[in-house]
Symmetry: C2
Subunit: 399 residues, 2 copies
């Protein structure tokens, strides 16, 4: 049995890096950037007016009044208007190029205009350079403004748009298949049958992935029949980059999944991690370097393993810079297991002092997902022999 | 001018509540639940075996060995096999119904089988009831397991599947149009032109919404021409539930947006909020109770207002239970504005003690989005006259 961090390292070592693809900017939100983004021009590309009003050249003393010598509106090419002497001003709008020969802007609220004469509010003293957003003060042409590996949120999308990236290189999305096993498992829409329960791991794992952008996901189910499972898995290994299985990886007689996978040429990288829940997890790589995650079939185990291992590995294979691990403070003490890492579902509160507070929510068994519907994620508790007191902080993983 | 909390309250008061729709479970991830979800059966629906092994009836002393009297595998109807006397055991698999007459399960690893005889590991003492997940111990038939208003993440999706919800009632998604204004603004793919900059507010606001599930979003742009804008806005008011505009809401001569909206029968609920950036924000409701948000045109202002007001209002109108406000601790002091709330972009760090630490990232002006591409959100600083020291915690809003 290996440790949680050994499992993470082995998965990272064996995940094939995903390629990239070019997509239209409008389709890039949420994707992982795979190219450096450089400023196309200085930003702003010119000394940019930031208030509606008049542009002047500051002098001491200022003229008593100014004469309007033209207009420079937003979008007009530079030089649409320029002052001819120190008593001239140019009417300007937010976003306009600062007229040549001017250095400051006086907001319209501080002025009174009569015909082509503009008077300042009595006693108003402008500062030289005011309400001018200087050329290149945000960034200069050629500067790297985004590095590969970021997830494209609103602020990054704005950068791409403003630097003229109508298309952008992002990580390709893997083609994933999820295969549930288990004769006792009925589909949500099937009639109930005594001795059976409904399957939910497919729905839960698909949601955990699709909500993070992994939407090329085929969901299948096979009975506990090695031959039928072998046929299906063989087909999926031919067509998919990633296989995620659930169930059939423990030590019982129905636990045929590792054997079937190995017979299809999938090499076992590890089987069993020193953790609870999720100890029986199996990971291997196929002949074309397909990543194959075989998760335990119990609902909590399956979801915990998907969130703790599968999702981060898929994101890392896309070139995403690893997200920092968030910690949360325990509201109640927790007892570690002597040999196994524990993953304990928690409900989060947010303290007014900026702390995340984790209330452990005991599950009845690793088959109990009623309790976890009211949790936000789980904390990871290292193996140990002494109680971890309330107030301690532990790594937190959100569902 | 009204305060931030007055603006929030006015928007909430005037947002029409969204209806709901029934969708297939596979399409429900990320949506807002709009019905109570009740347990279809007890869960587990039977005393459920949680380990592969043998089922027995506990007695003291235990028989020296057991005789296999049948098998109860997962998915088999109850009563597939039952012990005839105290020395009988039934071979069972994880997920099976506990055979009638048995009360405990002994894991296969603790047994040695020869023919139909099974011996326990020497000295092994089972506890009565062990490895049995008792019927109804997770929930009982009819129990409300999910309440309306939750966002359907993986754990909630698992609940729906396991209780037989092949379809589910979720909030309808509003039909949204975003309209940018500004003659100086070029599309990302347009050739550069002197005196112009590229537009990015549409891209940023669309990402801020689509990444939270608002994907029925039409993006348009109009020049600073009240007649053309009036035509377009009139059409969009006929076809869309929500309009979001950017630009043209300040006090300048090009700031025609409020006038055009009012001429189309959109009633102004407020104009200007005591905040920086984003002071000129305008909000109104149309003749069919369409919500109309007119945001300032500067990129930082526009995105801040979308995240602080528009997105939460859209979620609340869908019936989502308000998310608790998260706080973050300042790494550096901040100076409040005497009259205006300040929204200050921050980069987040996560302390090992469970605290979120916010590093303020100064922006050059409210037109400066180069800096915000490297931030995670913003903190809200109330108006005031004394410096807020490092270590203070403030409400945090993620992009």
């Amino acid at each position: 049995m290996i440790s949680v961090s050994e499992a993470e390292a082995l998965i990272a070592e064996h995940m094939p890096a995903r390629g990239s693809e070019r997509v239209a900017l409008a389709r890039a939100a949420g994707r992982i950037l795979r190219q450096p983004v450089r400023a196309e021009t200085d930003l702003p590309p010119f000394d940019r007016v930031t208030m509606d009003g008049i542009a002047i050249r500051c002098s001491d003393p200022l003229p008593e009044h100014f004469t309007v010598a033209g207009e420079q509106m937003a979008g007009m090419a530079p030089g649409a208007a320029a002052p001819k002497d120190a008593g001239d001003c140019i009417v300007v709008a937010t976003g306009a190029v600062l007229p040549v020969g001017c250095d400051s802007v006086i907001p319209v609220e501080r002025t009174r205009r009569e015909g082509d004469q503009v008077r300042l509010e009595p006693g108003y003293r402008p500062e030289r350079g005011q309400f001018v957003h200087a050329r290149g003060s945000d960034c200069v042409a050629g500067q790297e403004v985004l590095q590969p590996g970021v997830r494209l949120g609103p602020a990054q999308m704005a950068q791409l748009a403003s630097h003229g990236y109508g298309q952008v290189e992002v990580a390709a999305t893997p083609s994933i298949a999820f295969v549930g096993t288990g004769d006792e498992l009925l589909a949500p829409e099937a009639p109930l049958r005594e001795g059976s329960i409904r399957r939910s791991n497919d729905t839960a794992v698909a949601a955990a992935l699709s909500l993070h952008g992994f939407d090329d996901l085929e969901v299948r189910h096979v009975a506990d029949d090695p031959a039928a499972a072998g046929d299906l898995l063989g087909q999926l290994l031919d067509t998919r980059d990633v296989l995620i299985l659930s169930g059939g990886v423990s030590m019982g007689q129905r636990d045929f999944v590792p054997g079937v996978l190995e017979s299809l040429g999938v090499r076992c990288i590890f089987h069993r991690i020193a953790q609870r829940p999720g100890k029986p997890m199996w990971f291997g790589t196929g002949p074309r370097r397909q990543a194959v995650f075989a998760l335990p079939g119990n609902p909590v185990s399956s979801l915990v393993c998907a969130v703790r291992y599968v999702r981060p590995a898929l994101l890392e294979a896309q070139g995403m810079r690893p997200a920092p691990v968030v910690h949360a403070c325990l509201k109640q003490p927790l007892t570690p297991h002597p040999q196994l890492a524990r993953f304990v579902p928690v409900r989060l509160d947010h303290g007014l002092d900026g702390r995340s507070l984790a209330e452990p929510v005991p599950t009845n068994t690793s088959g109990d997902f009623t309790a976890i519907a009211h949790t936000d994620g789980f904390v990871q508790l290292a193996p140990g022999s002494t109680e971890v007191p309330a107030g301690s902080s532990l790594p937190l993983y959100g569902w």
